[in-house]
Structure formats: C-alpha cells, structure tokens
Symmetry: none
Subunit: 278 residues, 2 copies
DNA sequence: TCATGTGTGAATGCGTTCATGCATGCTCTG
DNA sequence: CAGAGCATGCATGAACGCATTCACACATGA
C-alpha cells in the first residue's frame, strides 16, 4: 500500500480544519478510505456528512464517489509492492533501529527489573534525573513526561559541581533514588556523578546500552537498550522507547490520584489553549 | 491477501450455476469484491442483478451489503496476523513503535524530500533549530550531533520573544533556513514562531508526525515520522530515527572538510579523556 | 460596533442501489 | 409427453447514499 501517493493526493490544497481531520483520518486508515461512504466516514471522523462531500469537492473532484474511485486505484494497486525491494542507505539505518527495538522487546519479556526500577523511582521524592552530553535530551524528555504525574522531578544536565549541588539538594529534600541516562559513549563526568550520588546516600537506576560497561558497577539497577553505531551518528530509538516504557511502568506504580492529575493537567492545557486545535 | 479464507467463505454451500460464476469471478478479482455493488458485479459476471443478491443470501447472509462487509474484513485485513505470541503490555508498546518505524522506513523509499531538506539545512549558516515543550529534547539531540559537523547550530527551545530574538539574530548572521520539530500536540507558540520565521525571510523544514496538521501550512518542507499515542505518553522513536536520518543526509550534503572535522572532533575528545575507556 | 466572509451542521430532495414478486425457460421424472 | 421443481431475468417498491440549501457560529477588518 502506497501511502505517499495518497499523501500527495490529500496534501496539495488548502483545507479547512474539518477537512484536515478527514484527510488525517484517511491517511491513518487508508484501507477504509477505499469503501467508506460519506455517512460512515463522517461518523468516524466526527464531522457532518456534508463536510465529507465538500472535502471531496475541495480536492478537485466533482463528486464524492469520484474521489473514492481515485483512492481505490491508489490503495488497491495490483500489489505492485514487490516484497524484496532494495532498501536505500537511509532505510537500512531505520532497519537497524527496528532490529534494536526487536531486541529491546524481547529483553522486556521479563518485566521484573523494569517494574522494580519504576517502583523505586516513583517513590522517590524528589527524583533527580541525570543526563550528560548526548544523553541530556533523553533526560529532559523523561523529565517532561514524568513531571506530569510526579510532583518533583529535577533534571540535571550540567556535569561537575553543578550536578553535585543538585544531587545534594535532592537528598536534603528526601530523595533516595536517582535516574541516570548514559548512552555510549560514557562520559567520565557521569561516572563521577554516580559515585558521588552513592556517597551521599542515593541509589541509582542507570539506563544504558550494555549490561556491563564502565558505569554499571556504580549503579544499583541497570536497564539496557541496544544502541547501534554503524552509522555516522549513534542511534537512540531503543533508549527513547525504553524511556517511554519506564514512564509507563512508573505511572502504574504511582498512586491513583497522581495518575488522575495527569488528566487534569491535560484538561488545563486545553483550557489555556496551549495547543492549536485542529 | 489471503484467498483461502475467501475460498472457504464461498465454497461451503451448494450453489446454482449462475452463483458459481459469481463466486468464481470474486475469487479471481478479490479486490473488486470489496467494493463492487450488485449491479456492477452482475454486469461484469454476466448475470442479473437479482442473482447477485440471491447469491449473498445463499451464502447465509441476510443482505448483500452484509456479505460485502464480510468480504472486506477478509480482503483488507492486515494479513500478517501476528506472531500471536503473548506480549505483555510493555512489549506491546515496543511493538507499536516497531510498526511506526516500519512505516517510516517505507516512507523513506523516496529520498527526494529528505535530501532536499538536508541540502537546504546544511547550506544554511547559521542554522536555527526550533523545538518547544516535548519537542525541545529532540531539537537538542539534533543540535548536539549537528554541531559536530556544522559550524553554527543554534537550538532555540524557549517560545515567544526569546525565540524570535534568536531567529532575528540568525537571519542577521546569514541564515536562510530553519529546522523545526513539532511533535503532537502542536503548541500554539510554535505556529507563531513559524509565521514569524517566514516573515523575517526564513524558509523552514518542519519535522512532525502528520503531513497535514495545523502547522504544516506554515512550513516550506515537511518531513513526517509517525507517532502513536495509544499509551499514556506519546512515543517518539520514529521522530528520533528521522532525526538521525536527517543528520545522516546532512552529513552527506556537507563539504568534505566538514565531514573530516567530525573525525577530528572525536579524536580530540579521546585525547581530552572525556569518555571513560572500556 | 457592525458588516462581511468563511466554515460548519441540520434538514431536504434526488438519484442510485438493493430486495422482492412475478413470469419465463430449463431439467428431471413419471 | 405432461407436470413439478428449480433457476433465472425483469420490473417495482423500499431503503440508502449523496448533493444541495439554509441557518447559524465565528473570525476578520472597517
């Protein structure tokens, strides 16, 4: 199924909000687009039936059935996609990442370690999150999401004394666990931070790429996500997903009212019109 | 497409000659079977329209549309009905991401848009990189890597006037393109930033999750990476990989001596003992 | 503040599709 | 050869899908 052609078909014109929603739905459900009628389509998208016919017209078709016929010829192409096409260089890069994710998936068959880490982190308040250099963005991503349900997440991305200050203040405020991201390569400064954390009484969860590397011995719990370095820049899909998984497990480990506050947070954001409605 | 299931559906009952002809036609044209009406189907097979409705009834369906719906669910099923192994919740999360990456991979069969974007960004000096809220970490990740080969990358993650200041300074210094990350949901402030960028003469590459959303119309080039939101926290594996792909393409678009400087950078880091040796 | 244009949903009318009754032709049997 | 049983095509009424109209909400600019 070739969604790029469909994309091209839908993308050209300037569309109204409701029409964009229709286009989006069709891109996400190209199969259904081939046979759905105006009424059913309108129902699923959540717009009026009239908007659907107008949508077809806006795309340059005389009638909706005409538009649907065009979609059919795109979606139901006579199985042109030979399965064994040559993948280009970039596709190979993605393919490598897919393998990484498969490996991560298989490694998560046993949720014990993940749940243990999630429980410990969810209970620690405040929760320091460490990430240096290339791992700093990941720490911030985690922090962004975690803050929605955890009351006091503190992302520390500056090495040395600054990080030590942050750790000390966290301990004073009652923290007993910290989370550290350390993708390859392993900054010396992160090792120092981990040893410091241990010295001030913190236990640490380390997210890294190998179960045994120069940093793991300084952590109490280690979660691993494979990283491939066959291309110019290291890949981070697996660690990003592991980050999501950890958040997911943490949410489950948090008390109910905290989980509810996440929804409240979203509702509040909508009310403040932080995001563009579509 | 699995024609055995269709065969099974059509084969069971005893059918009259005309009905057999209909069944045969459907087996030979399973695609059409999904959407053809009684009249068109009757026409193609060479029987009367009434025979088609009776055909559906003979197969045990109340009405013809009902029969057609059954055919659809057979013909249009995702075919590869899964590894059927029991995956736990977290593994399902990873599985979703794998699907996202596959989708991304297929979308990258045509490298035209990616190369075009990479070429434009590589040539722009300085290069402003925009990311707000949840997209800020991604912008920083990009910035971290890009800075290794590009002389002047400026990550802007604060909305409003601060971002505008950064864009203005970049334009004054000679920038003509900007890169913006906008994963869902789409901050209003990012839309403002994009319109501002256009007003001050910048063209923009937008990395987002849908080809059509409230922001795409404000960008000159759009790269899309699917994001799934079936879990509590949005996933970002695909966008992370797309970020890597873009970096990879940019590196290829940069002059040779810049690429060499990347190696020099690494060598220097090793000499400074930034990383722990393993 | 009002006027204008745009976008949207509810209601309406038309055209098509589908199901059913009826007449015809075929096949098998006495 | 005659009659019953079945299959098939044609014709008609009901149901459905689609396009159009109208009224209203909203944003924009004088």
């Amino acid at each position: 199924m070739d969604s790029t052609a469909l994309r091209q078909l839908l993308g050209g014109r300037r569309l109204s909000p409701a029409q964009r929603r229709i286009a989006r739905y069709l891109l996400e459900h190209p199969q259904e687009a081939a046979y759905l009628g105006t009424v059913d389509l309108a129902e699923r998208v959540g717009v009026s039936q009239a908007s659907v016919t107008r949508f077809a017209f806006a795309l340059g078709f005389e009638t909706f059935p005409e538009f649907r016929a065009a979609v059919r010829s795109l979606v139901l192409t006579p199985t042109t996609n030979g399965p064994a096409e040559e993948l280009n260089e970039i596709q190979l890069l993605v393919e490598t990442e897919i393998r990484n994710l498969r490996s991560l998936r298989d490694g998560l068959a046993d949720l014990g370690p993940l749940r243990e880490a999630a429980g410990a982190l969810a209970a620690s308040q405040p929760l320091p999150v460490l990430g240096l250099r290339v791992s700093a963005p990941l720490a911030h991503l985690f922090g962004y999401f975690a803050a929605k349900a955890h009351l006091d997440v503190r992302v520390l991305d500056c090495p040395g004394s600054l990080m030590e200050d942050g750790l000390l203040r966290a301990v004073d405020a009652g923290a007993d666990w910290a989370l550290a991201f350390a993708l390859p390569r392993y900054p010396r400064e992160m090792r120092d931070a981990l040893t410091f954390a241990r010295r001030v009484g913190l236990r640490t969860v380390l997210v890294t790429d190998q179960p045994i590397n120069p940093l793991t011995e300084h952590a109490d719990l280690v979660l691993t996500a494979p990283v491939s370095s066959h291309f110019a820049f290291d890949s981070h899909a697996a660690s990003t997903v592991l980050c999501s998984a950890l958040l997911h497990a943490m949410l489950a480990a948090l008390p109910k009212e905290r989980q509810a506050s996440l929804d409240a947070f979203e509702a509040m954001a909508a009310q403040r019109e932080v995001f563009v409605a579509d």
